[in-house]
């Protein structure tokens, strides 16, 4: 059923009309034109669509619009003003990306990890990041970038 919703994304309130079951992923991409959050699997198994919900990493393909009242959502577009979040800077420094498609989700997961665990062990990183798939195989660089971001912040 189509309803009117107010969602708070990147510190701004947006009014959207959408089917109550429409996942946040498609609200972001198709309605609000925020394409930084990527579609990878639609079943919460790849992490490409990771956003922050009240500061925690969640898969936006699993979040219906009707469940977001009063929640604070942050997407890759809102992670930093100029792409200068410590995680983004470390990603550039380590030259992580190959195709780059999964990296928005990887970065959002990494930023959430460092928020809750500022000095993660290798095992912490591996366990937390396990939900984010990269087919190009940039995992070792991602780990290095997270360690670097942790050391610098």
């Amino acid at each position: 059923m189509i309803k009117k919703y107010f969602v708070r994304i990147n510190k701004k309130v947006h009014q959207v009309e959408a089917d109550e079951n429409m996942p946040l992923l498609w609200v972001l991409r198709d309605i609000l034109g925020m394409e930084g959050t990527k579609y990878g699997c639609g079943v919460g198994s790849c992490g490409a669509c990771t956003v922050h919900l009240n500061g925690s990493a969640v898969r936006s393909c699993q979040l219906p619009i009707s469940a977001l009242a009063g929640m604070e959502i942050t997407t890759i577009e809102g992670l930093s003003a100029k792409g200068d979040h410590p995680v983004q800077k470390a990603w550039l420094d380590v030259d992580v990306a190959q195709c780059g498609y999964c990296q928005s989700g990887q970065i959002m997961s990494a930023a959430a990890l460092l928020k809750s665990t500022p000095n993660p062990t290798e095992e912490d990183i591996e366990n937390f990041m396990t939900g984010n798939i990269c087919r190009c195989g940039t995992y070792t660089r991602i780990k290095k970038a997270i360690q670097q971001a942790a050391a610098k912040s």
Binding site: W26, E35, Y39, T75, I76, Q88, G100, R135
Partner: protein, 746 residues
Amino acid sequence: MKKTETNYSRRSFLKVSSLSGGGMMLGISWFASAKPVESLGELNIEPVWQEVTSFIKIASDNSIKIFSPNPEFGQNVMTSLPMLIAEELDVDWKQVEVEQGNYDNKAFPRQFTGGSQGVRMAWKQLRTVGAAARQMILTAASQAWNLPVSELTTSNGLVTHAFSGKSESYGTFAEAASKLPVPKDIVLKGNQSFRLLGTPQKNVVGPKIVQGKPLFGLDYREAGMLYAMTERPPAFGMQLKSFDVTAAKKMPGIVDIFTIKVYNDDHKFAGFDTRSFNEVIAVVGKSTWDVMNARKKIKAVWEVAPERKEAGQNNRETLIPSGLESTKKHYAQMLEMDKKPGRIERKDGDPEKAFAEAKHVIERTFTAPFLAHNIMEPTNTFAHFVGDKVRFVAPIQIPEMMVPSMVARLGIPKENISIELARMGGGFGRRAYGHYMIEAALISKQANAPIKLIYTREDDVSGGIYRPSYQLTYRAAFDENKRLTAMHIKGGGVPESPLHANRFPAGALDNYLAESWAIPSNITIGAFRAPRSNFNAAAEQSFLDEISEYMGKDPIAFRLELLQRAKDNPVGKTNDYDASRYMGVLELVRDKSGWGKPENAGKKRGVSAYFCHNSYAAQVIDLQVKGDQVTVDQVTTALDCGVVVNPEGAKNMAEGAAIDGIGNALFGQLTLTDGKTDQKNFDTYRMIRHNEAPKKIDVHFVKNEIDPTGLGEPPFPPVFAAVANALYKATGKRFYQQPFQPQLKS
């Protein structure tokens, strides 16, 4: 400095033009490569002269833009190809802005991503573009200052006259340079003079990627655009019988539902025309979610498709059998084929006699399942068909190969097709098959609207163009002294053989026989990172490991011994590989991994090496096994791909190949039951994840002056056997069937 030995001054020409607002633009024309590309079948690009006008733009304010011609899917040609131009142009890399060129076969030759050919084919061509522009700017400066060219030097985009201290930017002379004739003799730098090439440079698109900018095809949108998906048969071997979309059409946001036929019935199939299903139901709506929901309401009746023949170009016909196929049956069929005589692909000496006289024979059969590409960005394309013109924004590896197919299906002249090349969220061969562009164009035409066609992950996994399922049986004959006297390789697959009969160990053995066979199938297959090689290497390099153990020889020493024979006194006339370079990577990986050193004696390690795409790669993998858990401690890779243009990007590719290879070796499989894939999404298709990646990857390049050879694919094939051989050390068990991890007991 040396004069180029290329034939550009005779057979090609450069073209220069002025930019509005001052400045110059330079491009090159050349005879496009007509050499078959190894991995993509018998592909011959038509040799044509092409007029090019847009590789470099130098504006009067000295801003420099370099266009990267090739489609980008993560191999980072957007950095490495412009580096080739910038080196010879002699500009500061930091002042260069790189832009993706659109598909334009007049402006850019060879916009082709596949076969690890990008840097290799561009190596001299793009440097010639840069060198010519530099020479013209020097000439313009010489005329403006009334000084001889010989007294002028260039550096970082400046022309300098050292004696007088005069120095001006390229931009000052760009417009005057654009009025000059293009020099006849173009001089390229010697490799020792490189300032940029060989230095590590970061991905030029990195800053946009980390901010999630809309770079990809799936991110494209424009006003009035609708979303489209296709509902296709639930199983390979099925086709549409009838359908009722009354309920689906009533769903919110749905604009239209209709069927499309990807190719005409009389289509002559070219190499990249493969598509899983020819008739599909297209659903067009206002959002992805609307379309996904409406698809569920389609009432379609599917039926088993009859046997058919697909007419290929060159008057070849491919039999597409009827029936619902299963992996279990494929494996049984492959074992049956192994018992029958195959097609002899190569024979050296008298292998039958050698086997008859052998004191001992080792025979092993290796198998592998289909693999899905699992490109992280699902298949998609934007298309807008208006009148007799169509405009695409498409993630496509080889646009030029799709154009003739589009002309045939859409009935419009090729000039009326425009393609903006979107960055691809992975490719690995999948996006060489651009049937989805034709689908998008047909849907746009019927819906009379700009549309973005999207495949769901389930569409991509269950209706893909897979790496074939393969089998290879290796037999080795030994005399009473455990000396290897002959080898026999027989292999095939569903629906093609993986065999490369003229590769190592052919050439190293007096008695050698290679036979192939194939089983027709209706499962669609295509190129997958180092096609065929990725399985050949797994089987061959596991087998060599096992027989070296029987002979009591160190696995690296045994391979080097065979290669030494192939180098000194090769058997047969046609051996595809260079034994010296092959030995070079084995020696490098041996030294860098500390192979055979006492301190590494306790490590469970495996070695493997392979040649493909004109390059050589070897790996040593150290791992541990606890129950069914495999922990890879270290990968040491040695690569000989000639001169390395961008060591940072090259290392990243080789690291990725190691992780991708380990993942596919341990977990990768697409299996079928009654034509349906058992895996449909990442919850069932097992991909390697963070916690399973190697703890450490070291990449070492053989340093030489050989012009660049392939890089994207070569480090991938050897990984599989390095894993298998290390698993043997860890478990005492040989692994013959991929994937390996399910055979470990928890």
